[in-house]
């Protein structure tokens, strides 16, 4: 009967210093220790970042928990772009979505879970979004200062956090149309500030 037992897939060798894709391959093969390494590496900054989106530490912890469970189940679906040794963006995408569904679940328990949207790595951004993603360099910081908090929040949710308009509407608790107009207005304002 041993013949029929599922042969344990050979996991690639990995260690605490392995790159994220190697760890994810090991996780996909069922290695719990690889998940522990990934958890240790990414949970702190994800937690810090989620804390800016939600002030309830319990919900943030629950969302993080769900995030790593999702990683455990879907590690096989991670496809690194060539030369990319980092899963940070992918993990963030999962984490922010988990936080949104967490908040939603808490708010309306009677509404069924949001339909799962595929986890896509953010990064295939338009040219102006690429500029925005380089906030830390150059004059963009001052330009952002000139935005009103509402416009800034809209830009943050859609561009920095990589959310769809629908998800941004959910986390900001404003209608989708408002998100769209705010993002457009913010981008126009920024373009003006950067080109003048």
């Amino acid at each position: 009967m041993k013949l029929f037992r599922r042969a344990h897939r050979r996991a690639p060798s990995y260690g605490p210093d392995s790159a994220d894709p190697a760890l994810l391959t090991a996780i996909a093969a069922g290695e719990a220790e690889a998940l522990e390494i990934l958890h240790r590496r990414h949970a702190p900054w994800l937690r810090a970042r989620l804390n800016y989106r939600c002030s309830d530490p319990d919900q943030v912890d629950a969302a993080l928990q769900e995030t790593f469970l999702a990683v455990w189940k879907n590690a096989g679906s991670f496809t690194p772009r060539p030369g990319d040794t980092d899963a940070g963006a992918w993990l963030w995408t999962i984490a922010i979505r988990q936080l949104i569904s967490q908040l939603r679940r808490r708010a309306n328990r009677w509404i069924s879970d949001i339909e799962a949207e595929p986890y896509e790595t953010i990064g295939d951004a338009s040219a102006e979004e690429t500029v925005l993603l380089n906030i830390e360099h150059g004059p963009l910081g001052t330009a952002l200062h000139s935005l009103s908090p509402e416009l800034r929040a809209a830009i943050q949710a859609t561009v920095l956090d990589g959310l769809t308009v629908r998800e941004a509407a959910r986390i900001l608790q404003i209608p989708e149309g408002t998100v769209k107009t705010r993002v457009m207005r913010a981008k126009a304002r920024l373009r003006e500030a950067l080109t003048s």
Binding site: H42, A43, N51, L64, Q65, F68, W72, I135, E136
Partner: protein, 267 residues
């Protein structure tokens, strides 16, 4: 990216939610693609350990097999599904020997004159042997442990009997379909009612004596009766399976089941 990196102070401010919005946005955009700066985030060891402990709790749970998933899809409770799916593992040897015995019976039926008698004799006994090995001291290595759980007793006995009967009946039906003279669906299931009646009989008898002994007695009785019938020159012991006899088997089976249910209710 170029030389810009987080200073430890910035990282601490960010983690403590003291950064202003613009700095926070810069930090976030930078963290997304700079792994070294992420390690600057202060890690709360206690929090990490707690988080991992509860993750491990879920991650370490055994993944459910296909049989178990199917059973719980059919509406069974999770623990019942697990029990039913795990039970056949207890009788791997029995399953193996069942296949061998049925294969031998098939070979005999094809090669020897009147060889199909062997199948007729054996088919009702095969599930009985499985049931005999289903429950009780000396059969189940974990019986002492299992007998003190709330599941033990009638409930466990019936659940295990079911999980033995399903593969046994499937195997016997498969073998019956391969018999040389099988022409209709009727030929494939003629042994079913006697077989179930024998099982029910041994379960009932198992109320008073050890289940293995009960099954042994019932099985021996069956073989003895059939042997006598065929030795006494009756050319057709298959008469035991004739449509009229099936009626009697049906009556016997329902009577036994009724008694079993009655006993289970009063127990």
């Amino acid at each position: 990216m170029s030389g810009w990196h987080l200073t430890p102070a910035q990282a601490h401010d960010y983690a403590a939610r003291r950064s202003d919005e613009i700095t926070a946005m810069s930090v976030e955009a930078h963290l997304m693609h700079c792994a070294p700066c992420r390690t600057l985030m202060p890690a709360d060891e206690q929090w990490l350990a707690d988080g991992w402990a509860s993750l491990r709790d879920v991650v370490d749970r055994p993944r459910r097999g296909p049989v178990e998933t199917l059973l719980s899809l059919a509406g069974l409770r999770a623990e019942t599904a697990k029990l039913l799916a795990a039970t056949p593992r207890l009788y791997q040897a029995w399953l193996g020997s069942t296949v061998v015995v049925l294969a031998a019976a098939l070979v005999a039926a094809h090669v020897m004159p009147r060889g199909s008698l062997m199948f007729v004799f054996l088919a009702p006994v095969v599930p009985l042997v499985g049931v005999a090995l289903a429950y009780g001291r000396g059969v189940d290595p974990a019986h002492t442990l299992a007998s003190v759980t709330p599941m033990a007793g009638q409930r466990l006995l019936f659940l295990r009997t079911c999980s033995v009967l399903v593969p046994a009946l499937l195997l016997c039906t498969g073998a019956a379909l391969l018999l040389p003279y099988t022409t209709s669906a009727w030929d494939a299931v003629f042994w079913l009612l006697p077989s179930l009646a024998l099982v029910a009989g041994s379960l009932l008898l198992g109320r008073w004596i050890h289940l293995s002994a009960a099954s042994g007695i019932v099985g021996a009785l069956w073989l003895a009766v059939l042997g006598l019938v065929s030795l006494s020159g009756q050319t057709v012991p298959v008469g035991v399976f004739a449509p009229a006899a099936q009626l009697w088997w049906g009556v016997l089976l329902s009577a036994l089941l009724g008694l079993l249910l009655l006993r289970a209710r009063t127990a």
